[in-house]
Symmetry: C2
Subunit: 447 residues, 2 copies
């Protein structure tokens, strides 16, 4: 039994005898009565345990400092109008393991900066408890969504000889003796997309959910060297259909996660972002706006005074300030910007008839900016080859990818969601380092 189950069904548990193991959140009182709040990790909520002198040895109870593991047994009592509507009247108490004096998670306020120094302990605060519970349920809901919609879960390789994005800074992998384990240059994948495309050609609808890597020397709050990506790929889907999938996926998993973790969202709303649930409900309920890149430029031009970067000629890439304006102020909700200039997008994207743009989309959300990037893929062998040559890409390592176009690849589309960006959006946390258990950034490799 977990505290979450007790809280969600407290009428059932009224007057029941239970035994519970967990960790002490607070321990106060005197030598006649003590109040311990215990947490078992199932929810951000604690359960209050009341211990009285006549039933247990309160001197022993006093030793159970914050963070200690205890086992308590007794009778659950629910009194709806009380400040603590559920409490455990304990008659058994056992200190399973104490904490040393230097246990850093104490009642006093701790900064997120400080907590980043102790990633092995910080999840024992209410903020990280909430964030990591939401992260976990989000991930499980994503798998559930794809399973329910007949997607094949596909594991693209992590170590690869391809550079999927045709750019980007790569981590190089080798064995310790530089023996060249693979007898060729091996890098950590920046995307699972190209391999996933090969699986969509045959399995129709597939997705990956795996770690990806960038050796970028970025010190921003939105970049990490190691992060998880979700990359669906669907044969026979065009740009419009894949945008619809992205929108439905996000709305479904966010809605289900909120329903499963009401206390954690309430906690984050009260302590991290006061309009969190309002923002998410707006997202869930609002129809996705689709905006041509060219039209987006016109809108930005009309509000040029708001931006540092004021060049809105065709061909520029949108900056973070522009993306945040479009989603946060102009649309006030999610917006998919489509049909970007081909020069600023990846080689594999479908070349539109105008010869200028590709059938790409970025899904922008308020506060975060880009959450998803995707496109229809170019399945014309000659056009794809020509584009790769234009970009001076080396063809041989990607011949297999080109060959898919010779073997029944009629049409496909896909996108990538940076999972940590999604967790940031859904939890209201503003730094990527605070939504992944052990963040990896330049110069930072704790544990």
């Amino acid at each position: 039994m977990t505290i979450k189950q007790i809280i969600n069904n407290y009428n059932e548990y009224n007057k029941q005898e239970i035994t519970l193991k967990g960790w002490v959140s607070t321990n106060r009182g005197n030598n006649k009565i003590r109040f311990i709040e215990i947490n078992d990790g199932s929810t951000v909520k604690n359960l209050q345990v009341v211990l009285k002198m006549d039933s247990v040895d309160l001197a022993a109870v006093e030793q159970a400092k914050i963070g200690s593991a205890i086992c308590v047994g007794g009778t659950l009592l629910t009194t709806e109008k009380a400040q603590q509507p559920i409490e455990l009247q304990a008659i058994q108490f056992e200190l399973l393991k104490g904490t040393d004096e230097d246990y850093p998670i104490q009642k006093k306020e701790i900064t997120l900066d400080y907590l980043r120094e102790i990633p092995h302990l910080r999840h024992r605060t209410n903020v990280f408890r909430s964030v990591m519970l939401i992260r976990s349920v989000l991930a499980q809901e994503i798998h559930k969504y794809f399973a329910a919609n007949d997607f094949l879960y596909c594991n693209s390789p992590i170590i690869t000889s391809n550079d999927g994005e045709g750019a980007g800074e790569l981590f190089v992998v080798d064995d310790e003796n530089k023996d060249q384990f693979f007898k060729q240059k091996a890098t950590l994948g920046v995307t699972g997309q190209l391999h996933a495309e090969s699986y969509a050609l045959g399995f129709n609808k597939v997705y990956t959910f795996a770690p990806t890597f960038r050796a970028e020397m970025s010190h921003t709050s939105r970049h990490a060297a190691e992060f998880w990506m979700i990359e669906p790929e669907c044969s026979f889907y065009d740009l419009k259909q894949i945008i619809k999938l992205a929108d439905d996926l996000l709305k479904t998993v966010i809605k289900n996660t909120i329903e499963k973790l009401p206390h954690e969202f309430e906690f984050l709303q009260a302590n991290v972002k006061s309009d969190l649930l309002d923002t998410l409900h707006k997202f869930i309920n609002k129809k996705l706006t689709v905006l041509e890149y060219k039209d987006a430029l016109e809108i930005l031009k009309a509000h040029a005074d708001k931006f540092e970067e004021k060049d809105f000629s065709f061909g520029i890439d949108l900056g973070s300030e522009h993306e945040k304006f479009l989603a946060g102020e102009y649309v006030q909700g999610p917006v998919a910007v489509i049909n970007y200039p081909k020069a600023i997008k990846a080689f594999y994207m479908y070349q539109n008839d105008d010869n200028q743009t590709v059938a790409a989309f970025d899904l922008l959300v308020p506060g975060i900016g880009e959450l998803i990037g995707g496109s229809q893929r170019e399945t014309n062998y000659e056009k794809l080859l020509a584009r790769m040559n234009e970009l001076n890409m080396s063809i041989e390592p990607l011949q297999w990818y080109l060959d898919l176009r010779r073997f029944g690849d009629a049409m496909s589309s896909g996108f990538g969601i940076g999972f940590e960006r999604l967790v940031m959006y859904v939890t209201g946390m503003s730094n990527i380092r605070d939504v992944i258990p052990y963040p990896r950034t330049p110069g930072n490799l704790k544990m």
Copy 2:
């Protein structure tokens, strides 16, 4: 609509008009009537499409060679007693994309060895279609099992400064310019366990499901340099409880996967391993046998004539031949061998009172040998530190791990499942290279 849905509910679809996209498996007939088998990746089963001269242009149909993408429309007819109980009487036909002459997946027999050279195409054979569908459902069922049992999905880091097993050959990671991105030695994780332990301490029950890496120069059919691991970790669980979890997890996910993919198991049973379903059903229905390491030695000694390695003195590690005998011949089902000598097991395992053994278990299954390895963890700081010193391990990089023992770590247990080993067991495939989309082994880094 998918072919799987049609086959599973064929009475509902009788006489319905449908349109379907997929790829040609066979195309035969003459200039009056043609029979195309089409596959859409939802199942190993094809749907037969019948095209007649009076409804479509058969000259165009003839161009749809194996592997081509087509779109067909017409009426579904089900006749239960026919050899093809379901067929599509098509009146619409469109060739969406053809295949070049050198498309390698033809009707003729192809060896698994040859198919390993074309990992981007081999899933378009019935064997790999079946294997990868089973792999996907197994993975989704594993997530489902843990979600239903209140486990937190925890992402341990991939790039790490720790060497979790205290041994093993590591891949080293650095950026291309050898700029020392992390300013310290960084390796690819061989396990997510140590980090998962930190999360179990607080979240109670957690699991990882992520890629792990070994730079071992192994050329066996059971070793890959990159593979996926599932690692649950449960606070307050002892050895007995964690073995029970392992047994229940395996039985549940295998049972559910068989139920969801009957055609794929039938195909593999008919073409890969003739006793596949029998073996799996035995596994699901048989109570797990638990055997002390010491007793296992006695059993092996009594059958010494069967083995190449005949030394069964206390302290030896069991070889693959011994493991296969214990599960395959002696128990004829799954067996958990427990309480191994501490000298042959990892530093973090719980030290039993006999001072000789640790509370470890290996779960052995017929045909595969070791499928799972796990243990109760040593949570006594002094004992753990002493063991690390005995092994001459460097303490500083693992001080954080030791510290968990000072901060409320009362008890925990966990195990690791090599996901590809599990897929091998469940599909009957005998080479790990054939159960992961893009296998990575020494000297082999295709695509």
